[in-house]
């Protein structure tokens, strides 16, 4: 079995702020980390590998520094690593990103592709479905658990977590899974794997390798454009309210529109 795990390098978003003067992102001193959701996808891939045996290939698209997330993946047990890096990939929105990633994954021809539910910088949850759609993979989002993987029968059974409760789905392989954080606990790398990751020199693929249409890549190939960024309104503490019936009634009235009148599944 061959499993591709897509891992994005993201800024540790808790630290990203907007400079009020220049209105640009302040990223000084903001460390880059592997997208946490992707690490849970990797962990699930490794658990599938532990149970059924598999080759796990970590793929990341980004600048050359993105090698760090691939090292992380190898330190945890990924077998191979591929870095997609090329100037024409830069500035891509989710549509153009999934185009590039799908191009790379197509060359690998895996049984399973694993992604995090979303990346913590963009929070879009669109790249996974984009890849699945482009490659004709069965799309399984919001996965918390795998129950069975059968490469012979080309079938996978997973549990997805929906708003109303868990759903078990049987699907045809090849498939693409997007994984939630609560799926698992990420393992702690062993020293031999860590040493292996330090020595890692990933395969580097640029668009000469992929041979994709440059007009559909990067900023140029992105249908969406960010036209403005701004700071969210500051959260300010409300003034102190006394605990009288009258005050509470006022608050309830203001909260009412936020509350669902019914909270149940229609069955």
């Amino acid at each position: 079995m061959k499993i591709v795990v897509c891992i994005k390098q993201v800024p540790d978003t808790t630290d990203v702020k907007i400079d009020p003067v220049t209105n640009t992102l302040v990223r000084e001193g903001v460390p880059s980390i592997p997208n946490p959701y992707d690490m849970h996808a990797l962990e699930m891939a490794l658990q599938i590998k532990d149970k059924y045996g598999a080759d796990v290939i970590a793929v990341s698209m980004g600048p050359p520094q993105a090698i760090d997330v691939l090292k992380k993946a190898v330190s945890l047990g990924a077998d191979e690593a591929i870095l997609l890096t090329d100037r024409v990939f830069a500035g891509a929105d989710t549509w153009a990103t999934s185009y590039a990633l799908a191009g790379a994954i197509a060359k690998l021809n895996p049984d399973l592709v694993m992604c995090g539910k979303q990346a913590i910088d963009g929070d879009t949850a669109q790249v996974g479905p984009g890849i699945a759609t482009r490659l004709g993979l069965t799309q399984l989002t919001y996965v918390v658990n795998f129950k069975n993987v059968d490469v012979e029968k080309k079938e996978i059974v997973v549990e997805r977590k929906l708003e109303e409760g868990p759903e078990t789905v049987a699907a045809r392989l090849p498939a693409l899974l997007t994984v939630l954080k609560e799926a698992n606990e990420i393992r702690y790398a062993s020293l031999p794997n860590l040493i292996k990751s330090v020595k890692l020199e990933p395969q580097v693929w640029d668009n000469k390798v992929l041979g994709l249409d440059p007009d559909l890549l990067g900023l140029k190939g992105s249908p969406t454009q960010v036209v403005k960024i701004f700071s969210p309104p500051l959260r300010e503490g409300g003034k102190l309210i006394s605990a009288s019936e009258e005050e509470i009634v006022k608050i309830v009235d203001q909260l009412m529109p936020q509350i669902r009148s019914e909270a149940s599944c229609a069955i």
């Binding site: 540790d12 808790t14 630290d15 001193g29 903001v30 460390p31 702690y188």
Partner: protein, 89 residues
């Protein structure tokens, strides 16, 4: 700015395994000086209802508490890769 707000500026990679542990809480109850409460620069130790509560997540790993309370404290560094991660230093 209050200490809590300052600590909020710091970056931590929080380990879910606590690296600070009081060996015998009853020793703390009897401790007269309770130096840990005021010398810890990150106010990791707080007293609540006579008990010392350890908020290891905010620890800056300086070692102060270990030196002033070597007998009743199990002091380790967080696992490699976890804990405080200074952005400026």
């Amino acid at each position: 700015m209050k200490l809590e707000d300052k600590l909020f500026l710091d970056r931590y990679v929080v380990d879910n395994i606590p690296h600070l542990k009081i060996k015998d809480p009853s020793v703390c109850t009897m401790c007269v000086k309770k130096q840990c409460l005021y010398t810890c620069p990150a106010q990791v130790y707080k007293e609540e209802e006579g008990k010392i509560v350890v908020s290891y997540e905010g620890c800056v790993e300086c070692g102060t508490c270990r030196i002033i309370c070597s007998e009743n404290l199990e002091w380790k560094y967080p696992r490699g890769g976890f804990g405080i991660s200074y952005k400026f230093g």
